[in-house]
Amino acid sequence: MSPKTLSLLRTFAPLLGIAALAVVMLVVAPAVLSPFRLNSLGKYTCWAIAAVGIGLAWGRGGMLVLGQGVFFGLGGYSMAMHLKLEAAGPDGVPDFMLLYGDGTMPAFWEPFRSGPFTIFAILALPAIAATVLGWAIFKRRVKGAYFAILTQAMAVVFATLLVATIQETGGFNGLNQFTQFFGYNLYDPVNKQMVYSITVVLLIVCLLIVWQLYRSRFGELLVATRDAEERVRFLGHDPANIKLVAFVVAAMMASVGGAMFAPIAGIISPSDVDATASIFLIAGVALGGRALFLGPALGALTVGYGRTSLSEAFPNQWTYFLGAMFIVVILLLPRGVGDLPRLVRSALDRRTSA
């Protein structure tokens, strides 16, 4: 092969990866998996969407986001509120409000009756929240561990708030029992598969977005900021703006993942969005390879699958696996399992040259 075709191949290799992923998830998986397993795969796909964003912010931007559950939750709860109102019918009130309260609906629920508004909110709410927090943090050059702690504190606060507002958000139980998804009956297996397909398409869209971002000048600046923030500043760029964009995009992707999680899982509750859930999101990214293109998504799918199958087989030991995975992967393979081929290759090179 000539060098030109080789470099062309390298540029578009990510696209080949996406295409392979699309074929497997859109064609093969629905054909071979039972509806129940396909639904589980849909859940992992939602986590993978959030993981793609984490790969952007953490892998390429160096910002350890320990609170992505918040944005996952903003999207998830927005969608769940809409689905809840759809199930309640026009002018209806969600069932749990009659159970825990006097049946009056808080005013902030009202706009979520509208489907278009809900979709707008799923994108706008995390963007606004991430912009406000990111602006406050990055402009004052708060970074590194401080940033990580603040995002995790945000997740703790968010979950506490949800648990405390049982009349407004369902509290500890969260929101569940959705019947309709934008007019489609959720009990119909055909519609369930449609929701799954939409989720996979969204994952692919997110992958295409980060592919373009990584190729762009912005992607270069982001990596430069991660590796030497002060030098970027001396070159006349404001690292705060660069990081802010990555953080906001990551937040929106987490929100999209959360929004699809609600109809697929049939529930969204504080335990899906709290600090532990946020750490779980990070786990997949660390495993797959934070800075690799497909690493975060594949890692999240693997960890999601591992969580289901391991907690089926050993209900109590799953936490040990997760904890041990963190320790082993980050200690020994900081760039993730996806980095193994490179490590093996360089080890072989060293042997042949020696």
């Binding site: 350890l64 561990a145 401080y146 702690i149 506490t160 936490t319 904890g323 041990a324 995975m325 900081p334």
Partner: protein
């Protein structure tokens, strides 16, 4: 009068707990740049040590006094083990250390669940801590006063250690300039290990105090760790006074907000205030001045 003094005194007690938890964190963070997310689990270990001690020394009046040094050593040794086995392999990778210790904290929580059960166990308080003392018309429980005394005692001991002993001088040298300290013959490796031991041991002490107030619980660490980190962030690194002021401020302010609104809203407000405060002082309240860029 009651509405003003009750949160003040209760907040002081919870601030004291935060202080014990945050002292160790700020020590290790300031010196090594290591964020130990398993620090909360050392509190839990301290609480379970108090519980276990009580099974051996059944006299409740005595067992707490025995538990204090035992918890210090147990939590300290666990911290030392963590430092030697994991953290010392990854200096210069602070964010990765943070994640590895998250894994450690998950494992420790699950261990506590498997050994002691998911339900917490009560720790019987000593007789001499029953009762209250009226302060400004509020009956301040002796257990809360005990927490404050313990925190101030630990603080005094730590401050004296840092200021007057040669080991303390070596710690301060390492915090201010690690490379220079090394060239002066300070073994920063040894200093790091002992600092980690002391910092984790302090968390063990805090755990004993927590066990008197809320018993033991596998998730006990999680409840304190984030607030303790917010205290460290707001207080600034490398100096004790920032941590002290921040701990009591966070404790008291949270208590007032909890009194006016609810416990959940108080958490929201405290978080918002810390972020706002970082707008004014991004490095926290006090910090060691350097000419470095970062």
């Amino acid at each position: 009068m009651d509405a003003l003094t009750t949160p003040l005194l209760a907040g002081t007690a919870s601030g004291a707990l935060l202080l014990i938890a945050a002292l160790g964190l700020s020590l290790t963070f300031g010196q090594m740049g290591v964020i130990n997310m398993a620090h909360g689990e050392f509190l839990m270990v301290g609480a379970y040590t108090a519980y276990a001690t009580q099974q051996v020394v059944t006299n409740a009046d005595l067992s707490i006094l025995v538990a204090l040094p035992v918890a210090f050593v147990v939590a300290g040794l666990l911290g030392l083990l963590l430092e030697v086995a994991v953290i010392s392999w990854m200096y210069r990778r602070p964010l990765d250390t943070l994640l590895v210790t998250v894994g450690v904290s998950l494992v420790l929580q699950q261990l506590a669940k498997d050994i002691f059960g998911a339900q917490g166990d009560p720790v019987v308080g000593p007789g001499w801590l029953e009762g209250t003392i009226p302060v400004f018309g509020y009956n301040w429980p002796l257990r809360q006063i005990f927490t404050v005394v313990l925190a101030l005692g630990a603080l005094t001991a730590l401050a004296a250690l840092l200021k007057y002993t040669s080991f303390g001088r070596r710690i301060r040298a390492t915090v201010q300039n690690r490379d220079l300290a090394e060239t002066m013959g300070v073994s920063t490796r040894v200093v790091d290990r002992i600092t980690f031991f002391v910092g984790s041991g302090l968390a063990g002490l805090g755990g004993v105090a927590v066990s008197l107030i809320s018993g033991t619980n596998p998730n006990l660490g999680r409840a304190y760790i984030i607030s303790a980190f917010l205290v460290v962030v707001a207080g600034g690194l490398g100096q004790l006074k920032g941590t002290v002021i921040a701990a009591f401020t966070v404790g008291v302010v949270t208590a007032y907000f909890a009194d006016w609104t609810s416990a959940a809203m108080a958490q929201v407000a405290t978080f918002a205030l810390v972020v706002l405060f970082l707008q004014l002082r991004p490095q926290g309240l006090f910090t060691v001045r350097t000419r470095g860029l970062t």
